[in-house]
């Protein structure tokens, strides 16, 4: 049997240095471990790499801690727009969705694009129509609401600024400074 393995990422931290408490760190690590274990269990069971990555990402999407699925950040119009993709290295088949909303696990929809459509990339209304035809149940906005994410958005709403879900010190300052100067500019 060949060596089998899985790696995951939860993006790049929303919490900059000094904001991570021991309790929060434990929550993040537990969520990451759960995703890692879920994917690895499938590999151990002889399932495919595609099954494993879909499962691991689904677990991360179900956590409010990460910017995907349940934890998706807010757009300028206080909505959620999510993107996902999946690729199978054996067949070079791929599937992707973009600008979708209300879908609990976008990665599952991207796999359906790969396996149940003749296309690679579906976006916006068309992707939502595809999901509806596959009987995806839509979650309402409250499922995706998270107080921390909402505060992040409130801090920069009504500005031209946007914020990555990761932040080097340099990047955080520039976002905050940009945001502040744009808000101040309204008052001359």
């Amino acid at each position: 049997m060949k060596t089998f393995s899985i790696a995951i990422h939860g993006g790049a931290g929303t919490l900059v240095k000094g904001m991570m408490t021991p309790e929060l760190e434990a929550q993040y690590k537990l969520a990451l471990q759960n995703a890692l274990d879920a994917g690895y269990a499938l590999l151990e069971d002889g399932k495919t790499a595609v099954d494993a990555v879909e499962e691991a990402v689904s677990v991360l999407e179900d956590s409010p801690l990460f910017n995907a699925g349940k934890g998706a950040v807010f757009t300028a119009t206080e909505t959620h727009e999510m993107d996902a993709s999946i690729m199978d290295g054996k067949t070079l088949n791929a599937g992707a969705v973009s600008l979708i909303t209300g879908i609990k696990n976008p990665v599952k929809l991207s796999r359906d694009v790969m396996e149940k459509s003749e296309h690679v990339f579906l976006a916006g209304d068309g992707a939502m129509q595809f999901a509806k035809e596959l009987n995806y149940k839509l979650k309402d906005a409250s499922y995706f609401y998270d107080e921390f994410r909402h505060k992040q958005w409130l801090d920069i709403k009504d500005t031209d600024s946007f914020q990555l879900d990761h932040a080097s010190d340099k990047n955080e300052k520039s976002v905050a400074e940009r945001s502040r100067s744009q808000k101040d500019s309204k008052f001359g």
Binding site: I8, H9, A52, V53, M82, M87, F121
Partner: protein, 133 residues
């Protein structure tokens, strides 16, 4: 952004990536996560990749495919190729972030060039690690 890459018992590899994008984004902005070749790529000849970071730079750098190309055309290992892209090539155009990668032998690489990275890896050869960098 979240993602996973895996190598199964048959040596087949795959990658998945999912994101909520950027806070306060507008105009239907899309980053690298759903773009095959930019934020996600898998090819049994080389590696499977999932990226996270400043999407516009990862799109312009065609980052995921760039790692695979370095492996295929220059014979680099997954570790060296992904390190070259994250620590040199993407930095040269101003991009920050990182990626996770696995090759068909189950070797994992997880380079990044900015702080606050959430990562995990587990392998049948005994690796089992979750870290926040």
């Amino acid at each position: 952004t979240v993602g996973a890459v895996a190598c199964d018992q048959d040596g087949n590899i795959a990658a998945a990536t999912s994101t909520g994008g950027m806070t306060n984004k507008k105009w239907g902005r899309v980053g690298d996560s759903p773009m095959i070749g930019a934020g996600n790529y898998a090819n049994n000849k080389t590696c499977a990749i999932s990226c996270t970071g400043s999407g516009e730079f990862f799109i312009r750098g065609v980052v995921a495919y760039d790692v695979a190309c370095l492996m295929e055309h220059k014979g680099m290992s997954v570790k060296d190729a992904s390190s070259e892209v994250i620590h040199k090539r993407i930095l040269d155009i101003g991009g920050d972030g990182g990626l996770i990668a696995v090759d068909t032998n189950g070797n994992i690489a997880m380079p990044f060039n900015t702080e606050g990275m959430y990562r995990g890896q587990k392998s049948s050869n005994g690796i089992d690690d979750v870290s926040i960098y």
